[in-house]
């Protein structure tokens, strides 16, 4: 399951991390994205996917959404999830409260 999206350290995007880890077969992912005519850049160790927000898909399963809009990041996650059959994201009620 993916944890709730959280702002990355430089506050320029939202990242999604699966727990337990969910490695992604990038070759397979690339083929699926191509079948859906979704533009993708293959950098071997990661894919850069052009959806409503640009997403970096790492082999280890980490996703980085290059937008500062949390709703757009969430919508993009759901679209990517449906194409790549990724695990679901935890519901808001099961997420940790924001730390201070």
């Amino acid at each position: 399951m993916y944890r709730r999206l959280r702002l990355c350290s430089n506050r320029g995007g939202y990242e999604a991390i699966a727990e337990p880890a969910h490695p992604i077969d990038l070759e397979r992912a690339k083929a699926r994205l191509a079948a859906e005519r979704i533009p993708v850049v293959d950098a071997r160790v990661m894919l850069i996917v052009r959806l409503d927000a640009e997403v970096t898909v790492s082999r280890g399963g980490r996703l980085l959404f290059k937008t500062q809009d949390p709703q757009l990041a969430e919508r993009t996650f759901q679209r990517l999830r449906s194409v790549l059959e990724l695990p679901a994201m935890e519901s808001p009620s099961s997420s940790e409260p924001a730390g201070g």
């Binding site: 990355c8 350290s9 430089n10 506050r11 320029g12 995007g13 850049v41 293959d42 950098a43 071997r44 160790v45 990661m46 850069i48 640009e54 970096t56 980085l64 290059k66 500062q68």
Partner: protein
């Protein structure tokens, strides 16, 4: 005073280094290696704003060359050992900047590097990276610590620009080499067509 080419990243350090060189009266040209799609638009917009501020302060035109570095990163990721990604990346930045320096009649290259701040800034990595160029490299901040640099950045007004939100470089490997030697690095570069990559990058540069 000399003419130099300054590598500008959009971060905190490079505008501070540029400030010192401009203050000494050097005529500077800026080069930004555009790392998209491994980052977002923010580094370029920060560099544009840094330069606007420093042009006004020092009444210098400071032309900005933007060079597409993303395609180089893709080739490096596909064809070379990820461990040395940061050093290889730096070598391409230096060589591209040197080409711009020749075009601009500049006598030196400059950077905001300070020793030991990030993986690429260890002595052995700096040596491996800069062995790729002939022009002298000036590092006005080499002995500064982070706090000192931030203090100057705040005093010249560039800190607020540098710390705006942005996506950090996604091409940085999980475990970048903090030590490298030139033999290893040259071996990695045998796997790629270095000259063609630099030609392509410089040919596609844009002056902003």
């Amino acid at each position: 005073m000399a003419r130099g080419v300054m590598l500008m990243s959009g971060g905190i350090d490079s505008p501070v280094a540029l400030h010192y060189l401009l203050r000494q009266g050097h005529a500077m040209v800026a080069v930004h290696m555009d790392n998209r799609p491994f980052t977002d638009d923010s580094p370029l917009s920060k560099v544009v704003d840094h330069l606007a501020m420093l042009r006004e302060r020092y009444h210098q035109p400071i032309p900005l060359y933007m060079l597409p570095h993303g395609p180089t990163q893709i080739t490096l990721m596909r064809s070379t050992d990820r461990h040395f990604g940061c050093v290889l990346c730096r070598r391409f930045m230096w060589r591209s900047a040197e080409r711009i320096a020749v075009r601009e009649g500049a006598q030196f290259l400059a950077t905001g590097e300070a020793l030991g701040q990030v993986a690429s800034q260890t002595l052995s990595n700096m040596r491996s990276a800069t062995a790729s160029v002939q022009l002298p490299i000036v590092r006005p901040l080499i002995g500064f610590d982070k706090q000192e640099i931030e203090q100057v950045a705040k005093s010249i007004g560039t800190y607020q620009i540098s710390t705006r939100p942005g996506v950090c470089c996604q091409a940085v490997p999980d475990k970048p080499a903090t030590r490298s030697n030139l033999v290893q690095i040259l071996k990695e570069e045998e796997r790629i067509d270095v000259d063609a990559m630099i030609d392509d990058c410089v040919r596609k540069s844009v002056i902003l």
